[in-house]
Amino acid sequence: MELLRVIDGEGRPLREAPCTDEDARALLERMIFLRAFDERAVALQRQGRIGTYAPYRGMEACQAGAASALSPEDWLLPTYRDHGAAMIHGLPVEEALAYWAGRVESYRAPAEVNVFPPAVPIATQIPHAAGIGWGLRRAGSAAAVLCFFGDGATSEGDFHEGINFAGVFRAPVVFFCQNNGYAISVPFSRQTAAASIAVRAAGYGIAGERVDGNDALAVLDAVRRALQRAREGGGPTLIEALTYRVGPHTTSDDPSRYRDPEEAQRLALGDPLERLRRYLAGRGAWDEADEARAQEAARARVAAAVRAVEAMAPPDPADIFAHVYGAEPLFFQEQRRRFLAELESAARPGAGGPAARGPAPGGAAGGPAVRTEGGGR
């Protein structure tokens, strides 16, 4: 299947751009912001200021390019790695950051922002997208749905059931697969024996397309056309965007254990920011002053979000019990009661609470019980 590219690895145009220079500049500014957020988040995790983090470095053209094709009334269904796209579609930056800080009160989209919570179980958002799209169509809405997922998700039954359903019921959904080469440590070559993900579209009787996922203009073009088709009743599209996960799966992962560090160079997809930058510079539409301004704006926006998240009141340990059940069963209420009682007894100075039996230093002396490892069970 043909691979759609608008600019080559050096940012030289290969075909007519799908947007004006002004739009392309805005796209680059978004990508610069996304990169700044991602770099800062990794740094915060290393400093112990947020929890485990899943970086999207190298995938900014997919994140910003696809989300920039959306209209405000369209719905976005992200995975854990797509908070970049979510922020482009309007999720407040501090909401995204608070999520990675492990806060219950996070990833809250304002009423006018149609962003779903991130799917952490692989591929569950695909049947959700089919259902939302079908619902929109039945309600006569002009809105469409953009559903993100990874190459690993394509081997899940949910992928198959969701896409078939959307195809049969002509749901206005764009299924956007970021093929970043890996599902944690499993390379794409072990994910399917087929030549590509996009060829599967034929098996569902829907449109399929393959794009260079590090070419923001190609991604924008493909997703825009697919959304248009969806709105016109032409049914769903399966888009496979070829990209690369430059960083680890998450900050808890060490990719050098399963992949060759030279591999990224061999793939020659190029850095998505650099490619768009060169394209615009070649047209005289981007210079060092633009770059400096965009970098500064991005840093300031991220810094404001960091301040906002760090100014939040400390989390309540009981939060882990929130939103688990609508009607809480008795055993669950009992679990919470015991958990809180243990925390309390561990916090009492000199009390022989569970923390005193734990291996962590300071437990018996009434250290910060919540952080004490081995304290509770």
């Binding site: 081997s155 899940e156 039954g157 949910d158 992928f159 198959h160 059931e161 078939n164 359903f165 195809g167 049969v168 072990r190 994910q191 399917t192 024996a193 087929a194 030549a195 060829v199 599967r200 034929a202 098996g203 569902y204 009787g205 829907i206």
Partner: protein
């Protein structure tokens, strides 16, 4: 709709007379078993549900005819035909349907859960699509043990949109497992016509999405099924990976015995009855290996006697005691 492949006049396969008669007999055994079971069920003599495969015999026999005894199959809720085609005795089949001690599974499984490892039957299955990953698992075990067996999954058109289909076939494709995936497309899943849940003209469109070959076959043409199955089985045995076969066929009865099947037009049923796989194969045999009314009579009478004896065997076998009901739930 894409047109399925039929065996051409030349006949790709040189079926000798003995093999042809064997395959023919297997179809007749299935037909008579199913008809007898339906009558017994209508009289209230068999517990549970009964899904008849009358009309679909050529798929079961064409595929199992291409297998060895030590090859594996997984089957469905409509599985009597597959299991008989794989060599099951009608006596233990009936005993299982009757809930007797002498049944294949002590009468604990019933119609939808017959299994027999000695015959390579890894189980009929009441869960739509569930046999597909089981066959992939059997394929993996074959590969790990280094034997040249093959694992076949039979499933209906209702299974092809389940996640199990996707996951099972994708794994078999990635690992080049010695599997054959056989879809018996009888155009309905319960009352749901296929075009209601599928946007493609043929299932073979999906094979490319897994990087494996796919073939569309006239499932009422025994020779066409047998040929296609032989190609797929040879490929699997040679370590070249799985194949997806779609066999178009039709169930004469409703979804279950007693289903009034108001969701389908009578003309459609007549159309398919006129394409009964058994007389079609008789005509083929007449032309290619010799077959006459006397041959026909001999087979039908012998099978009728077998059915009668099998029912007697089942009826005279002891009922499985209620206390045994939980015996085989956990190992």
């Amino acid at each position: 709709m894409t047109r399925p492949k039929r065996s051409d006049k030349k006949g790709e396969t040189r079926l000798d007379r003995t093999t042809a008669l064997d395959l023919y007999t297997r179809m007749v055994r299935i037909r008579q078993f199913e008809e007898k079971a339906a009558r017994l069920y209508e009289q209230g003599l068999l517990p549970g549900f009964l899904h008849s495969s009358v009309g679909q015999e050529a798929v079961a026999v064409g595929v199992c005819g291409a297998l060895r005894k030590d090859d594996y199959i997984t089957s469905t809720h409509r599985g009597h035909g597959h299991i008989i085609a794989k060599g099951a005795g009608l006596d233990r089949m009936f005993a299982e349907l009757y809930g007797r001690e002498t049944g294949f599974n002590r009468g604990l499984g019933g119609s939808m859960h017959i299994m027999d490892f000695e015959l390579g039957v890894l189980g009929a299955n009441g869960i739509v699509g569930a046999g597909i990953p089981i066959a992939a698992g059997a394929g993996l075990s074959i590969q790990l043990r280094g034997t040249d067996q093959v694992a076949v999954a039979f499933f209906g058109d209702g299974a092809i949109n389940t996640g199990a289909f996707h996951e099972g076939i994708n794994l078999a494709a990635i690992w080049d497992l010695p599997c054959v995936f056989v879809c018996e497309n009888n155009l309905y899943a319960e009352s749901t016509p296929q075009e209601y849940v599928l946007r493609i003209p043929a299932l073979t469109e999906r094979a490319r999405g897994y990087g494996i070959p796919g073939e569309l076959v006239d499932g009422n043409d025994l020779v066409a099924v047998y040929d296609a199955a032989r190609r797929a089985v040879e490929r699997a045995r040679a370590g070249k990976g799985p194949t997806l076969l779609e066999c178009r066929t039709y169930r004469w009865y409703g979804h279950y015995i007693g289903d009034p099947a108001v969701y389908r037009p009578q003309e459609e049923v007549e159309y398919w009855k006129a394409r009964d796989p058994i007389p079609r194969f008789e005509a083929w045999m007449k032309e290619h290996v010799g077959f006459d009314d006397a041959d026909r009579e001999a087979v039908w009478q012998a099978v009728a006697a077998e059915v009668e004896a099998a029912v007697k065997f089942a009826e005279e076998s002891p009922l499985t005691p209620v206390e045994a009901a939980l015996d085989c739930v956990y190992s």
